[in-house]
């Protein structure tokens, strides 16, 4: 037996096929147009501002920021609790020893520019980390890439404590990277 396929390329589509392809195409065009449309009308978007910055320079920014606005120390973890002024630039990083650089204290209804990246922080390397903020109402996830400053403009809308975990595999201490952000009313 030999396999042969009739050359039937000229055969027009049947009615059902035309209807299906048209519906599918319209649906595809719809989802395509919604990508830019959501970006314009949605209230929560991924950041569209980022910079290249050396890991060491970002670490300096984080250290200076922590020292300047430190209001306390978390007993268990030893992390500084940092309360930056309203509207200021806020620096937060995941560290090479699988910790967060601070516990932030923000205020409800005020806008901040949150700079996210990764630093060595006493560890061997600045790993890639995942910034994942989790509460009972929502979660949001952004990447923290060493050498890049991912800038999120954010306005907390509700007071409370928000869990912060790393969700990009960053090595053997990955599962210990719990932290929090406190929003004061």
């Amino acid at each position: 037996m030999s396999i042969s396929v009739e050359r039937i390329w000229w055969r027009p589509l049947d009615r059902e096929e035309k209807i299906w392809v048209t519906i599918a195409l319209i649906w595809c065009l719809g989802t395509f147009f919604m990508m830019p449309v959501w970006h314009v009308i949605a209230k929560q978007n991924t950041p569209n501002e980022s910079y290249k910055v050396s890991v060491d320079d970002f670490e300096k920014l984080v250290t200076a920021f922590n020292e300047k606005y430190k209001v306390g120390v978390d007993e268990n973890s030893g992390l500084p609790i940092v309360h930056p002024p309203v509207g200021s630039d806020v620096y937060l990083a995941g560290t090479g020893i699988w910790q967060w650089s601070s516990i932030l204290e923000l205020e409800v209804g005020k806008q901040y520019r949150l700079h996210l990246s990764s630093i060595k922080g006493g560890g061997a390397e600045a790993w890639q980390h995942g910034f994942s903020i989790v509460s009972s109402k929502f979660n949001a996830n952004l990447m923290m890439i060493p050498g890049y400053d991912n800038v999120l403009t954010v306005t907390p809308t509700e007071a409370g404590e928000y869990g912060l975990i790393c969700n990009e595999f960053c090595g053997i201490g990955h599962h210990l990277m719990a932290g929090k952000i406190i929003v004061k009313g």
Binding site: S2, I3, F32, K52
Partner: protein
């Protein structure tokens, strides 16, 4: 050369014996990798289930890395290589032009796969599947992947050479059969995908060997996903080709309109590779409009292709069934379909599962705002188990029930096991993927040893409801592993102790 062929008594097809040998070894290697990856899957599953939490963190991350590589790379690509040889020789009455090259490719892939497994299991490459820099594996890990990829690329080029030979020697008439056409599209995507792989695995290997000082993490991510995303489209293409093959073998169905089906395959080749920035939607460095152009624009023409196959395959089965007299009402054709035939059951569950579990969630999570909610959560893991496990793996399992009698010339060892396997596996992965996606909705991260954060210095707790879905994931996973074990045992038993077919 005549003695190099045998004629298949069932189908009347001419089988080139050197090609047959290569199909056999690649298929066996695939099933061995599925077994290793499956054992890793069980151990990973039992660790992520907080009630059991089996492995320590070190072994968990090792086996998670091994699971991904043995399944997504080794099992699927070995099987695809077997499929490529099958589609370019048996289906075309053709010979494989250079069997020795086929053996070199096979050996490269085996050596590469062995190196990868050694490196990962010895704890020298606990970097997860993505090996995001600056996580660094020992050089042999990257070398293993490079060798495997060179082997796979050799096999793909060999496939193209076989197509040229078939055309020249006029072994078939008219157009290529649609299955071979689909495999050709898969092979085309494979070529540029593997070249992307070379673009970052080679520099990363040199970096690990201490020759290059630095790899930029964002450049790495961009190049990695040009491989990582596009390579999944090889699987999609190969899977759809298997759907057509199984539909024809089990019900005698023929595509209603070859033009439509083939255009859909071409849409995959042309458009699906651009969607790679889905993985980078929450990353810095790329602008919003860059991401929208990449993930929103022509990608939807590839979605259109899947929509076309989703129509064309059930339609061709319906027409074939109605011709057999199953004409009562709207759905008698489906009700009376050969559900007891494991190949048909696998194909249909794969088709439904790929579309509704894997495909729709892929398009949804690929939306920028939704990506921000789902990125790196367990939802993503749920999504791609819907595509590559429920879709690709199950379709490949289905065609095995024809490869064993036709190529290995052995009867299937146990028909009962064969009948049960697709339902356990399909049902299991269906539950597993969906439960995983719900858990991810609560923020449960992927690739995580302990979501209870028992050892963390700052206490953290997920919504307790999430743990209900984690337990469901565990149950679904166990069902899938039972189905997978039935498949592996049955296939191995068939190949080694199954009754010989003369």
């Amino acid at each position: 050369m005549a003695e190099q062929f045998r004629t298949c008594p069932t189908t009347g097809l001419k089988v080139h014996l050197p090609a047959e040998a290569l199909i056999k070894v690649n298929a066996v290697a695939a099933v061995v990798c599925l077994l290793v990856g499956g054992i890793a899957a069980l151990l990973v599953l039992l660790t992520r289930w907080p009630a059991i939490h089996l492995l320590n963190e070190e072994w968990f991350y090792r086996l998670l890395t091994a699971h991904a590589l043995d399944m997504l790379i080794a099992w699927i690509i070995f099987f695809e290589v077997a499929g490529l040889y099958f589609g370019s020789t048996v289906l075309l009455n053709n010979r494989l032009p250079a069997p020795k090259v086929g053996w070199v490719a096979f050996i490269l892939m085996v050596v590469g796969g062995a190196l990868i497994n050694f490196s990962v299991l010895a704890g020298r490459a606990t970097v997860a599947f993505t090996s995001y820099v600056p996580l660094m594996a020992k050089p042999e890990y990257y070398l293993g992947i490079i060798l495997f990829a060179v082997g796979a690329l050799t096999a793909v080029l060999h496939f193209f050479a076989a197509l040229v030979v078939a055309k020249k020697e006029k072994t078939y008439e008219g157009s290529l059969p649609i299955v071979t056409f689909g495999l050709m599209c898969a092979a085309t995507i494979a070529v540029f995908t593997l070249l992307h792989g070379a673009a970052f695995y080679i520099p990363t290997f040199l970096w690990s060997a201490g020759i290059l000082p630095h790899i930029d993490p964002m450049m790495y991510r961009l190049a990695f996903w040009a491989l990582g995303h596009a390579s999944q489209q090889i699987n999609v293409c190969a899977m759809v080709a298997m759907w057509y093959l199984i539909a024809t073998l089990t019900t005698g169905a023929k595509p209603l309109n070859e033009k439509l089906c083939r255009t859909a395959f071409l849409l995959y080749v042309l458009f699906i590779n651009v969607a790679s920035e889905h993985h980078l939607l929450t990353d810095p460095a790329l602008s919003i409009w860059h991401k929208i152009a990449n993930t929103g624009y022509v990608m939807h023409l590839a979605v259109l292709a899947s929509m076309i196959h989703a129509f064309a395959i059930p339609a061709m089965i319906e027409v074939a069934q109605r011709k057999k007299g199953f004409t009562k009402g709207w759905f008698e054709w489906l009700k009376k379909a050969p559900w007891g035939n494991p190949a048909f059951a696998s194909m249909f569950i794969s088709l439904i599962g790929f579309g509704f579990v894997g495909g729709i969630t892929g398009v949804t999570f690929g939306n920028m705002q939704i990506s921000m909610i789902r990125h790196n959560t367990w939802s993503i893991t749920g999504h791609f188990h819907g595509t590559v496990v429920l879709g690709t793996t199950l379709a490949f399992m289905g065609i095995t029930y024809y490869i064993v009698p036709l190529i290995f010339r052995r009867q299937i060892f146990s028909e009962t096991m064969a009948k049960l396997s697709p339902y356990f596996f399909g049902g299991g992965v269906f539950l597993f993927s969906n439960a995983m996606m719900f858990a991810g909705g609560y923020g449960i991260p992927r690739r995580h040893w302990d979501v209870t954060f028992a050892g963390a210095s700052i206490p953290f707790q997920f919504d307790p409801t999430a743990f209900f879905f984690i337990a469901l994931t565990g149950l679904g996973g166990l069902l899938a592993i039972i189905g997978g074990a039935l498949y592996v045992l049955n296939t191995v038993a068939s190949v080694f102790i199954g009754k010989k077919i003369k």
